[in-house]
Symmetry: C2
Subunit: 285 residues, 2 copies
Amino acid sequence: MGVGDDTAVLDGGLLFATDVLTEGVHFDLRWSTPADVGWKALAVNLSDVAAMGGTPRAAVCGVVLVAGRKGEADELLGGLMAAATELGCPLVGGDTVVGTALTLTVSVVGDAPEGGAVLRSGARPGDSVFVTGPLGGGRAALAALRRGEEPDPVALVRLQRPVPRLVEGRTAAAAGATAMIDLSDGLSSDLAHICRESGVGALLQPSAVPVGPGATVDEALAGGDDYELCFTAPDPVAVAEAFVAAGLHLPAPIGTVIAGGEVLLTTPGGGTWPLPPSGWEHPVE
Amino acid sequence: MGVGDDTAVLDGGLLFATDVLTEGVHFDLRWSTPADVGWKALAVNLSDVAAMGGTPRAAVCGVVLVAGRKGEADELLGGLMAAATELGCPLVGGDTVVGTALTLTVSVVGDAPEGGAVLRSGARPGDSVFVTGPLGGGRAALAALRRGEEPDPVALVRLQRPVPRLVEGRTAAAAGATAMIDLSDGLSSDLAHICRESGVGALLQPSAVPVGPGATVDEALAGGDDYELCFTAPDPVAVAEAFVAAGLHLPAPIGTVIAGGEVLLTTPGGGTWPLPPSGWEHPVE
């Protein structure tokens, strides 16, 4: 369950996904408001739809509220409804119960693009590897908060209120993307998923990876919670043209798909070293 | 959220619903195994699809497991997978996290019948009111368990492993059902939903309500957790013919839709008294 692709793909190109956010694991009310949590619960699901090149159609939400913390409910639903409006995915149903840990489970359905959903399994040696925006900001902001420091304000907004890259995902699909994933866990682990599913490797230029506000290159390579997209495509010119035509920032070409199964980084001396899929540890346990 | 109908109905007749089951509210591991809980989490969603006259297409599940109770996970997923196989709804994705309270949120998509989903709002005065099977057994079994007594074995199975009335729902839709709901909360409160949404009342013959194993008439009228369907339809002969043709037990005609907004019971003396929508209190708090 939950492996293989960002969403399930049903007959007729219907996309279907679910994500659980539970207090103490996925968010911390010391630095996220309940409205932030409501927003993020929908946004991370829409990011999964974006990673398939798809368009969301509707969402439902199951909520476990905590007795005696009634005020949270309205705030949380306010954030969820704001995301539904701003991100263009109506909330059409739900179920709310009272329990012991604030938990949101959002499920979303959407439609695959005309040419079919972009899976993780289609990357081929010679494809270029792209990311749709700067990475590491979410991780850097969280690290600052945990040290009791002031995070970069732009990075903080991206941590609290990520915006799924829906237009970018559709544009990448239309430009011939062969594989795509959203960077919820971090480039190193998420690109490793593409490589494993596609039976390929990747060679990255670390200096080409765009680094988010307040972040280090390490955080850009391994930090999660950015919700940018990583995709592979055979024709970089077609990608650039499609993104320009859509009025989007150009995605950053960060490397090349190669044979083998490893994600490698080029070194200044012209060699390579392996990037471990160290992944992303959830912020709190 | 969560009001109006058993599922949302999207363009093209796509049905979409979600239900949350959380420990201490919806189930009690003293008398339900984790496998029972997994089964029931899917079954109650499919019951919502049944109540629209629909056919389930696929489900996803978000699970919060409890640290140190790892064995539950396999059992729970086993029950969920058994329900997916037995009830004909593949589980196509999921998300599993570790948290503090065992919680399952299943979401399901399905397809409305040819003539459109059966809503709660279409009941008209003169329609007959039907239920698809005996009521009150779930509530009676639970009450026995809470008293430390042995419940009726048939009623216990229906409490732990309800079977959604999918064929019955489709058959009712094809036979011209004007409104339908599943009896998760109990006849009194669920029929009151139909009456409110349709702007009608209902007159029931208490002696016509089929009483489940080990249950009293009161439990049949007000007890929840049965997952039979209640529907209204203008032509009782067409209903009977359709159910016979489908090889199903005949649904019980229990009364008539009337003008006004109340659910009334006939009395032996020929009078009426109101049935309060007292609803169903969840078994444990």
